[in-house]
Symmetry: C2
Subunit: 222 residues, 2 copies
DNA sequence: ACGATGAACGTTTCGTTGATTATTCACTGA
DNA sequence: TCAGTGAATAATCAACGAAACGTTCATCGT
Protein backbone atom coordinates (compact mmCIF):
# COMPACT_ATOMS: atom_id res chain seq x y z
CA UNK A 1 0.00 0.00 0.00
CA UNK A 2 1.87 2.98 -1.33
CA UNK A 3 -0.57 5.48 0.14
CA UNK A 4 0.18 4.32 3.65
CA UNK A 5 3.90 4.38 2.95
CA UNK A 6 3.68 7.91 1.64
CA UNK A 7 1.93 9.08 4.75
CA UNK A 8 4.48 7.33 6.92
CA UNK A 9 7.17 9.22 5.10
CA UNK A 10 5.41 12.54 5.57
CA UNK A 11 5.15 11.85 9.27
CA UNK A 12 8.84 10.97 9.43
CA UNK A 13 9.78 14.17 7.65
CA UNK A 14 7.70 16.29 9.97
CA UNK A 15 9.04 14.51 13.05
CA UNK A 16 12.62 14.80 11.82
CA UNK A 17 12.20 18.54 11.46
CA UNK A 18 10.80 18.89 14.97
CA UNK A 19 13.35 16.54 16.56
CA UNK A 20 16.18 18.42 14.95
CA UNK A 21 14.84 21.79 16.01
CA UNK A 22 13.45 21.13 19.46
CA UNK A 23 14.75 17.68 20.38
CA UNK A 24 12.85 14.46 20.96
CA UNK A 25 11.64 15.24 24.48
CA UNK A 26 10.32 18.67 23.62
CA UNK A 27 8.40 17.49 20.57
CA UNK A 28 4.84 16.34 21.21
CA UNK A 29 2.84 13.97 19.09
CA UNK A 30 0.18 16.67 18.85
CA UNK A 31 2.70 19.03 17.31
CA UNK A 32 3.80 16.52 14.72
CA UNK A 33 0.17 15.85 13.89
CA UNK A 34 -0.64 19.54 13.67
CA UNK A 35 2.23 20.08 11.24
CA UNK A 36 0.50 17.57 8.98
CA UNK A 37 -2.97 18.96 9.70
CA UNK A 38 -4.18 15.78 11.31
CA UNK A 39 -5.22 14.64 14.75
CA UNK A 40 -2.75 13.12 17.20
CA UNK A 41 -4.70 9.90 17.26
CA UNK A 42 -4.18 9.36 13.58
CA UNK A 43 -0.44 9.10 14.02
CA UNK A 44 -1.03 5.82 15.78
CA UNK A 45 -2.43 4.32 12.65
CA UNK A 46 1.05 4.63 11.15
CA UNK A 47 3.35 4.13 14.11
CA UNK A 48 2.82 2.16 17.32
CA UNK A 49 4.23 5.02 19.38
CA UNK A 50 6.50 8.00 19.56
CA UNK A 51 9.65 5.96 20.07
CA UNK A 52 8.92 4.05 16.86
CA UNK A 53 9.05 7.27 14.91
CA UNK A 54 12.52 7.92 16.32
CA UNK A 55 13.45 4.34 15.50
CA UNK A 56 12.32 4.71 11.90
CA UNK A 57 14.39 7.86 11.56
CA UNK A 58 17.39 6.07 13.05
CA UNK A 59 16.76 3.16 10.68
CA UNK A 60 17.02 5.45 7.69
CA UNK A 61 20.13 7.10 8.94
CA UNK A 62 21.83 3.81 9.78
CA UNK A 63 20.86 2.42 6.43
CA UNK A 64 22.87 5.19 4.83
CA UNK A 65 25.77 4.67 7.19
CA UNK A 66 25.71 0.94 6.64
CA UNK A 67 25.81 1.43 2.88
CA UNK A 68 28.75 3.74 3.28
CA UNK A 69 30.57 1.26 5.50
CA UNK A 70 29.81 -1.54 3.08
CA UNK A 71 31.29 0.58 0.31
CA UNK A 72 34.47 1.00 2.32
CA UNK A 73 34.56 -2.70 3.05
CA UNK A 74 34.40 -3.52 -0.64
CA UNK A 75 36.83 -0.94 -1.95
CA UNK A 76 38.81 -3.07 -4.34
CA UNK A 77 41.81 -0.75 -4.42
CA UNK A 78 42.76 -1.44 -0.83
CA UNK A 79 44.08 -4.42 1.08
CA UNK A 80 41.74 -6.23 3.41
CA UNK A 81 43.57 -4.97 6.43
CA UNK A 82 43.32 -1.39 5.27
CA UNK A 83 39.63 -1.77 4.63
CA UNK A 84 39.11 -3.20 8.07
CA UNK A 85 40.86 -0.27 9.65
CA UNK A 86 39.01 2.22 7.47
CA UNK A 87 35.72 0.60 8.45
CA UNK A 88 36.20 1.27 12.14
CA UNK A 89 37.75 4.62 11.40
CA UNK A 90 34.86 5.79 9.27
CA UNK A 91 32.42 4.71 11.93
CA UNK A 92 34.20 6.78 14.54
CA UNK A 93 34.64 9.84 12.37
CA UNK A 94 31.05 9.80 11.18
CA UNK A 95 29.80 9.58 14.73
CA UNK A 96 32.08 12.43 15.70
CA UNK A 97 31.02 14.64 12.81
CA UNK A 98 27.36 13.88 13.30
CA UNK A 99 27.42 14.85 16.93
CA UNK A 100 29.56 17.88 16.28
CA UNK A 101 27.19 19.05 13.57
CA UNK A 102 23.95 18.21 15.35
CA UNK A 103 24.08 17.35 19.05
CA UNK A 104 20.38 16.45 18.97
CA UNK A 105 21.40 13.20 17.30
CA UNK A 106 23.15 12.34 20.53
CA UNK A 107 19.92 12.78 22.47
CA UNK A 108 18.09 10.52 20.04
CA UNK A 109 20.80 7.88 20.26
CA UNK A 110 20.76 7.96 24.05
CA UNK A 111 17.00 7.57 24.18
CA UNK A 112 17.06 4.67 21.74
CA UNK A 113 19.86 3.00 23.68
CA UNK A 114 17.84 3.10 26.90
CA UNK A 115 14.40 2.36 25.45
CA UNK A 116 15.37 -0.15 22.75
CA UNK A 117 18.80 -1.57 23.53
CA UNK A 118 18.14 -4.51 21.24
CA UNK A 119 17.97 -2.13 18.31
CA UNK A 120 21.48 -0.97 19.06
CA UNK A 121 22.68 -4.55 19.39
CA UNK A 122 21.19 -5.31 16.03
CA UNK A 123 23.12 -2.50 14.37
CA UNK A 124 26.27 -3.84 15.97
CA UNK A 125 25.46 -7.24 14.59
CA UNK A 126 24.96 -5.90 11.09
CA UNK A 127 28.29 -4.15 11.18
CA UNK A 128 29.86 -7.34 12.49
CA UNK A 129 28.77 -9.06 9.32
CA UNK A 130 30.93 -6.65 7.34
CA UNK A 131 33.83 -7.43 9.64
CA UNK A 132 33.18 -11.13 9.23
CA UNK A 133 33.34 -10.85 5.48
CA UNK A 134 36.59 -8.91 5.61
CA UNK A 135 38.20 -11.39 7.96
CA UNK A 136 37.17 -14.27 5.73
CA UNK A 137 38.53 -12.48 2.71
CA UNK A 138 41.78 -11.71 4.53
CA UNK A 139 42.12 -15.32 5.54
CA UNK A 140 41.87 -16.36 1.90
CA UNK A 141 44.36 -13.76 0.71
CA UNK A 142 46.80 -14.77 3.43
CA UNK A 143 46.73 -11.41 5.15
CA UNK A 144 45.05 -12.89 8.19
CA UNK A 145 45.13 -16.25 9.85
CA UNK A 146 42.05 -16.17 11.98
CA UNK A 147 40.53 -19.42 13.09
CA UNK A 148 37.14 -18.36 14.37
CA UNK A 149 36.00 -15.47 12.24
CA UNK A 150 32.78 -14.81 14.17
CA UNK A 151 34.61 -14.69 17.44
CA UNK A 152 37.37 -12.45 16.14
CA UNK A 153 34.83 -9.99 14.78
CA UNK A 154 33.21 -9.79 18.18
CA UNK A 155 36.56 -9.21 19.83
CA UNK A 156 37.41 -6.41 17.44
CA UNK A 157 34.15 -4.71 18.28
CA UNK A 158 34.85 -5.13 21.98
CA UNK A 159 38.26 -3.57 21.74
CA UNK A 160 36.96 -0.74 19.59
CA UNK A 161 34.21 0.00 22.10
CA UNK A 162 35.82 3.20 23.23
CA UNK A 163 35.66 4.69 19.74
CA UNK A 164 32.00 3.89 19.28
CA UNK A 165 30.57 5.58 22.34
CA UNK A 166 30.97 9.36 22.54
CA UNK A 167 30.33 9.06 26.27
CA UNK A 168 33.79 7.55 26.54
CA UNK A 169 35.55 10.25 24.57
CA UNK A 170 35.67 12.62 27.53
CA UNK A 171 36.12 15.81 25.57
CA UNK A 172 38.88 14.49 23.34
CA UNK A 173 38.94 16.27 20.01
CA UNK A 174 39.09 14.39 16.73
CA UNK A 175 42.89 14.51 16.32
CA UNK A 176 43.46 13.06 19.80
CA UNK A 177 40.82 10.43 19.15
CA UNK A 178 42.43 9.47 15.88
CA UNK A 179 45.80 9.15 17.54
CA UNK A 180 44.32 6.68 20.00
CA UNK A 181 42.36 4.96 17.30
CA UNK A 182 45.45 4.42 15.20
CA UNK A 183 47.37 3.02 18.11
CA UNK A 184 44.67 0.55 19.05
CA UNK A 185 43.99 -0.40 15.43
CA UNK A 186 47.64 -1.10 14.81
CA UNK A 187 47.84 -3.38 17.83
CA UNK A 188 44.70 -5.26 16.92
CA UNK A 189 45.34 -5.71 13.25
CA UNK A 190 48.91 -6.77 13.79
CA UNK A 191 47.40 -9.25 16.21
CA UNK A 192 45.09 -10.58 13.51
CA UNK A 193 47.92 -10.97 11.06
CA UNK A 194 50.02 -12.35 13.89
CA UNK A 195 50.02 -15.99 13.09
CA UNK A 196 50.06 -15.50 9.38
CA UNK A 197 52.99 -13.13 9.66
CA UNK A 198 54.71 -15.04 12.37
CA UNK A 199 57.21 -17.77 11.88
CA UNK A 200 55.75 -20.99 13.06
CA UNK A 201 56.94 -22.23 9.74
CA UNK A 202 59.49 -19.58 9.18
CA UNK A 203 60.00 -20.25 5.52
CA UNK A 204 56.52 -19.06 4.71
CA UNK A 205 56.92 -15.70 3.11
CA UNK A 206 55.74 -12.78 5.21
CA UNK A 207 52.17 -11.74 4.58
CA UNK A 208 51.70 -9.19 1.83
CA UNK A 209 51.51 -6.45 4.42
CA UNK A 210 54.32 -7.23 6.82
CA UNK A 211 53.32 -6.70 10.40
CA UNK A 212 55.85 -3.97 10.92
CA UNK A 213 54.43 -2.00 8.02
CA UNK A 214 50.80 -2.59 8.80
CA UNK A 215 48.80 0.50 9.51
CA UNK A 216 50.95 3.52 8.99
CA UNK A 217 49.57 6.37 11.08
CA UNK A 218 46.61 7.77 9.31
CA UNK A 219 46.55 11.41 8.36
CA UNK A 220 43.87 13.27 10.23
CA UNK A 221 40.68 13.79 8.26
CA UNK A 222 40.03 17.30 7.05
CA UNK B 1 49.39 14.44 64.90
CA UNK B 2 48.19 10.92 65.58
CA UNK B 3 45.05 12.07 67.40
CA UNK B 4 43.79 13.81 64.30
CA UNK B 5 44.62 10.78 62.18
CA UNK B 6 42.77 8.51 64.58
CA UNK B 7 39.68 10.67 64.41
CA UNK B 8 39.87 10.76 60.61
CA UNK B 9 39.91 7.00 60.64
CA UNK B 10 36.90 6.81 62.96
CA UNK B 11 35.01 9.12 60.64
CA UNK B 12 35.94 7.00 57.65
CA UNK B 13 34.77 3.85 59.40
CA UNK B 14 31.47 5.39 60.35
CA UNK B 15 30.94 6.78 56.85
CA UNK B 16 31.87 3.48 55.25
CA UNK B 17 29.27 1.71 57.33
CA UNK B 18 26.57 4.22 56.34
CA UNK B 19 27.53 4.32 52.69
CA UNK B 20 27.48 0.56 52.51
CA UNK B 21 24.10 0.32 54.20
CA UNK B 22 22.19 3.29 52.82
CA UNK B 23 24.34 4.52 49.94
CA UNK B 24 26.19 7.80 49.54
CA UNK B 25 23.19 9.91 48.60
CA UNK B 26 21.04 8.69 51.45
CA UNK B 27 23.72 9.27 54.09
CA UNK B 28 23.82 12.73 55.62
CA UNK B 29 26.77 14.40 57.26
CA UNK B 30 24.60 14.85 60.35
CA UNK B 31 24.09 11.09 60.55
CA UNK B 32 27.79 10.33 60.32
CA UNK B 33 28.42 12.92 63.02
CA UNK B 34 25.67 11.52 65.23
CA UNK B 35 27.14 8.03 64.95
CA UNK B 36 30.33 9.45 66.45
CA UNK B 37 28.49 11.64 68.96
CA UNK B 38 29.75 14.84 67.48
CA UNK B 39 28.29 17.80 65.68
CA UNK B 40 28.06 17.97 61.88
CA UNK B 41 30.29 21.02 61.83
CA UNK B 42 33.12 19.17 63.46
CA UNK B 43 33.44 16.80 60.51
CA UNK B 44 34.73 19.72 58.51
CA UNK B 45 37.77 19.98 60.71
CA UNK B 46 38.85 16.60 59.34
CA UNK B 47 37.53 16.62 55.79
CA UNK B 48 36.88 19.53 53.44
CA UNK B 49 33.51 18.07 52.47
CA UNK B 50 31.36 15.01 52.04
CA UNK B 51 32.87 14.04 48.70
CA UNK B 52 36.32 14.00 50.26
CA UNK B 53 35.20 11.33 52.70
CA UNK B 54 34.13 9.18 49.76
CA UNK B 55 37.44 9.94 48.08
CA UNK B 56 39.41 8.85 51.14
CA UNK B 57 37.47 5.60 51.23
CA UNK B 58 38.14 5.06 47.55
CA UNK B 59 41.81 5.90 48.10
CA UNK B 60 42.11 3.13 50.66
CA UNK B 61 40.36 0.63 48.49
CA UNK B 62 42.39 1.48 45.40
CA UNK B 63 45.58 1.34 47.40
CA UNK B 64 44.79 -2.27 48.17
CA UNK B 65 43.87 -3.01 44.59
CA UNK B 66 46.97 -1.33 43.29
CA UNK B 67 49.14 -3.38 45.63
CA UNK B 68 47.45 -6.49 44.41
CA UNK B 69 47.94 -5.53 40.78
CA UNK B 70 51.57 -4.69 41.44
CA UNK B 71 52.00 -8.11 42.99
CA UNK B 72 50.62 -9.70 39.85
CA UNK B 73 52.87 -7.55 37.70
CA UNK B 74 55.93 -8.70 39.58
CA UNK B 75 55.13 -12.40 39.84
CA UNK B 76 58.48 -13.86 38.94
CA UNK B 77 57.09 -17.25 37.99
CA UNK B 78 55.25 -15.96 34.96
CA UNK B 79 56.27 -14.54 31.62
CA UNK B 80 55.84 -10.84 31.02
CA UNK B 81 53.06 -11.42 28.60
CA UNK B 82 51.17 -13.59 31.06
CA UNK B 83 51.55 -11.00 33.77
CA UNK B 84 50.26 -8.30 31.47
CA UNK B 85 47.19 -10.36 30.70
CA UNK B 86 46.68 -11.25 34.34
CA UNK B 87 46.92 -7.59 35.28
CA UNK B 88 43.98 -6.59 33.12
CA UNK B 89 42.15 -9.74 33.99
CA UNK B 90 42.46 -9.21 37.73
CA UNK B 91 41.24 -5.66 37.33
CA UNK B 92 38.13 -6.80 35.53
CA UNK B 93 37.37 -9.67 37.89
CA UNK B 94 37.88 -7.59 40.99
CA UNK B 95 35.55 -4.94 39.66
CA UNK B 96 33.00 -7.60 38.85
CA UNK B 97 33.23 -9.27 42.24
CA UNK B 98 33.11 -5.97 44.06
CA UNK B 99 29.97 -4.86 42.33
CA UNK B 100 28.38 -8.27 42.63
CA UNK B 101 29.08 -8.35 46.32
CA UNK B 102 28.18 -4.75 47.07
CA UNK B 103 26.38 -2.75 44.39
CA UNK B 104 26.73 0.41 46.49
CA UNK B 105 30.33 0.55 45.38
CA UNK B 106 29.02 1.23 41.92
CA UNK B 107 27.13 4.28 43.14
CA UNK B 108 30.23 5.61 44.86
CA UNK B 109 32.32 5.08 41.75
CA UNK B 110 29.76 6.84 39.57
CA UNK B 111 29.62 9.83 41.89
CA UNK B 112 33.39 10.11 42.04
CA UNK B 113 33.61 9.85 38.27
CA UNK B 114 31.25 12.77 37.79
CA UNK B 115 32.43 14.95 40.67
CA UNK B 116 36.16 14.25 40.53
CA UNK B 117 37.02 12.86 37.08
CA UNK B 118 40.67 13.75 37.60
CA UNK B 119 40.82 11.29 40.47
CA UNK B 120 39.76 8.50 38.13
CA UNK B 121 42.29 9.59 35.53
CA UNK B 122 44.95 9.47 38.17
CA UNK B 123 44.12 5.88 39.04
CA UNK B 124 44.31 5.03 35.36
CA UNK B 125 47.70 6.69 35.20
CA UNK B 126 49.00 4.74 38.17
CA UNK B 127 47.92 1.50 36.60
CA UNK B 128 49.52 2.56 33.36
CA UNK B 129 52.83 2.76 35.16
CA UNK B 130 52.58 -0.95 35.90
CA UNK B 131 51.85 -1.61 32.24
CA UNK B 132 54.78 0.56 31.24
CA UNK B 133 57.13 -1.43 33.43
CA UNK B 134 55.89 -4.72 32.02
CA UNK B 135 56.26 -3.56 28.45
CA UNK B 136 59.78 -2.36 29.13
CA UNK B 137 60.62 -5.66 30.76
CA UNK B 138 59.12 -7.58 27.86
CA UNK B 139 61.12 -5.53 25.40
CA UNK B 140 64.31 -6.49 27.21
CA UNK B 141 63.43 -10.16 27.38
CA UNK B 142 62.54 -10.19 23.71
CA UNK B 143 58.92 -11.05 24.28
CA UNK B 144 57.81 -7.69 22.97
CA UNK B 145 59.15 -5.28 20.45
CA UNK B 146 57.39 -2.08 21.34
CA UNK B 147 58.89 1.17 20.24
CA UNK B 148 56.96 3.69 22.27
CA UNK B 149 56.16 2.08 25.59
CA UNK B 150 54.11 4.99 26.96
CA UNK B 151 51.98 5.10 23.88
CA UNK B 152 51.45 1.35 23.78
CA UNK B 153 50.34 1.34 27.41
CA UNK B 154 47.77 4.00 26.62
CA UNK B 155 46.50 2.01 23.66
CA UNK B 156 46.13 -1.12 25.74
CA UNK B 157 44.04 0.78 28.23
CA UNK B 158 41.91 2.17 25.42
CA UNK B 159 41.23 -1.22 23.96
CA UNK B 160 40.49 -2.69 27.38
CA UNK B 161 38.01 0.09 28.10
CA UNK B 162 35.05 -2.21 27.80
CA UNK B 163 36.31 -4.43 30.60
CA UNK B 164 36.87 -1.56 32.98
CA UNK B 165 33.44 0.03 32.93
CA UNK B 166 30.56 -2.09 34.23
CA UNK B 167 28.23 0.24 32.36
CA UNK B 168 29.47 -1.42 29.17
CA UNK B 169 28.95 -4.97 30.34
CA UNK B 170 25.22 -4.91 29.61
CA UNK B 171 24.23 -7.77 31.91
CA UNK B 172 26.96 -10.13 30.74
CA UNK B 173 27.90 -12.58 33.46
CA UNK B 174 31.49 -13.24 34.41
CA UNK B 175 32.03 -16.26 32.14
CA UNK B 176 30.80 -14.37 29.10
CA UNK B 177 32.93 -11.40 30.05
CA UNK B 178 35.97 -13.58 30.45
CA UNK B 179 35.39 -15.13 27.07
CA UNK B 180 35.41 -11.68 25.51
CA UNK B 181 38.33 -10.60 27.63
CA UNK B 182 40.41 -13.54 26.52
CA UNK B 183 39.66 -12.89 22.88
CA UNK B 184 40.60 -9.24 23.04
CA UNK B 185 43.67 -9.91 25.17
CA UNK B 186 44.92 -12.51 22.74
CA UNK B 187 44.56 -10.13 19.83
CA UNK B 188 46.27 -7.28 21.63
CA UNK B 189 49.13 -9.21 23.12
CA UNK B 190 49.87 -11.03 19.90
CA UNK B 191 49.91 -7.56 18.41
CA UNK B 192 52.51 -6.44 20.92
CA UNK B 193 54.68 -9.45 20.27
CA UNK B 194 53.98 -9.03 16.58
CA UNK B 195 57.18 -7.56 15.39
CA UNK B 196 59.32 -9.52 17.78
CA UNK B 197 57.63 -12.74 16.71
CA UNK B 198 57.38 -11.76 13.09
CA UNK B 199 60.02 -12.29 10.49
CA UNK B 200 61.42 -8.98 9.55
CA UNK B 201 64.71 -10.68 10.13
CA UNK B 202 63.45 -14.18 9.82
CA UNK B 203 66.49 -15.83 11.27
CA UNK B 204 65.80 -14.34 14.66
CA UNK B 205 64.50 -17.17 16.79
CA UNK B 206 60.82 -16.94 17.59
CA UNK B 207 60.07 -15.18 20.85
CA UNK B 208 59.94 -17.40 23.90
CA UNK B 209 56.19 -17.45 23.72
CA UNK B 210 55.42 -17.98 20.05
CA UNK B 211 52.53 -15.84 18.91
CA UNK B 212 50.43 -18.85 18.09
CA UNK B 213 50.81 -20.13 21.64
CA UNK B 214 50.37 -16.83 23.37
CA UNK B 215 47.43 -16.63 25.70
CA UNK B 216 45.78 -19.97 25.90
CA UNK B 217 42.16 -19.46 26.89
CA UNK B 218 42.06 -18.79 30.56
CA UNK B 219 40.01 -21.04 32.75
CA UNK B 220 37.13 -19.20 34.28
CA UNK B 221 37.74 -18.10 37.85
CA UNK B 222 35.93 -20.07 40.52
C1' DA C 1 44.48 29.50 72.24
C1' DC C 2 41.81 25.57 70.75
C1' DG C 3 38.69 21.69 70.01
C1' DA C 4 34.11 21.55 69.53
C1' DT C 5 29.39 23.22 68.96
C1' DG C 6 24.88 24.02 66.77
C1' DA C 7 22.15 27.76 64.85
C1' DA C 8 22.07 30.07 60.45
C1' DC C 9 22.52 30.25 55.39
C1' DG C 10 22.08 29.11 50.72
C1' DT C 11 21.24 24.94 47.77
C1' DT C 12 19.41 20.85 46.60
C1' DT C 13 15.96 17.48 47.04
C1' DC C 14 11.11 16.06 47.77
C1' DG C 15 6.24 15.63 47.70
C1' DT C 16 2.24 17.42 46.08
C1' DT C 17 -0.68 19.24 42.75
C1' DG C 18 -2.25 20.96 38.39
C1' DA C 19 -1.25 20.85 33.59
C1' DT C 20 0.53 18.46 29.60
C1' DT C 21 1.29 14.46 27.01
C1' DA C 22 0.96 9.88 24.88
C1' DT C 23 -2.26 6.70 23.83
C1' DT C 24 -6.94 4.63 23.15
C1' DC C 25 -11.37 4.24 21.28
C1' DA C 26 -16.11 5.07 20.02
C1' DC C 27 -17.49 7.49 16.30
C1' DT C 28 -17.91 10.02 11.50
C1' DG C 29 -17.99 10.85 6.68
C1' DA C 30 -16.97 8.99 2.35
C1' DT D 1 -14.92 -0.75 4.73
C1' DC D 2 -11.52 2.35 6.01
C1' DA D 3 -8.89 6.77 6.61
C1' DG D 4 -9.42 10.01 9.83
C1' DT D 5 -11.28 12.37 14.13
C1' DG D 6 -11.24 14.29 18.75
C1' DA D 7 -12.90 13.57 23.35
C1' DA D 8 -11.61 10.48 27.19
C1' DT D 9 -8.08 8.23 29.88
C1' DA D 10 -3.91 7.26 31.99
C1' DA D 11 0.81 8.29 32.38
C1' DT D 12 4.25 11.83 32.74
C1' DC D 13 5.93 16.39 33.64
C1' DA D 14 6.58 20.97 35.76
C1' DA D 15 6.05 24.07 39.25
C1' DC D 16 6.33 25.38 43.73
C1' DG D 17 6.36 25.40 48.68
C1' DA D 18 8.38 22.67 52.38
C1' DA D 19 11.84 19.87 54.26
C1' DA D 20 16.47 18.31 54.39
C1' DC D 21 21.06 18.83 53.29
C1' DG D 22 26.01 20.43 53.03
C1' DT D 23 28.59 23.92 54.65
C1' DT D 24 29.98 28.07 57.46
C1' DC D 25 30.85 30.70 61.43
C1' DA D 26 30.01 33.21 65.71
C1' DT D 27 30.26 31.31 70.05
C1' DC D 28 31.35 28.32 74.08
C1' DG D 29 33.91 25.78 77.51
C1' DT D 30 38.31 24.50 78.76
Amino acid sequence: MPAKDAMRQRILDAAKKRFKHYGYAKTSMAEIAADLQMSPGNLYRYFPGKIDIALAIADDSYEIRHDHLAEIAHDGSKSTIERLRDLFHADMVETYKTIEHDPRTFELAAIIKTERPEWVNNQLKRERELINALLTEGNQSGEFDVEDVDFAAEMLQSAMMKFRYPQLWSNLKLPALEREFNGVARLLLVGLAGRAGTARECHVEPARAPASAILPPREVAA
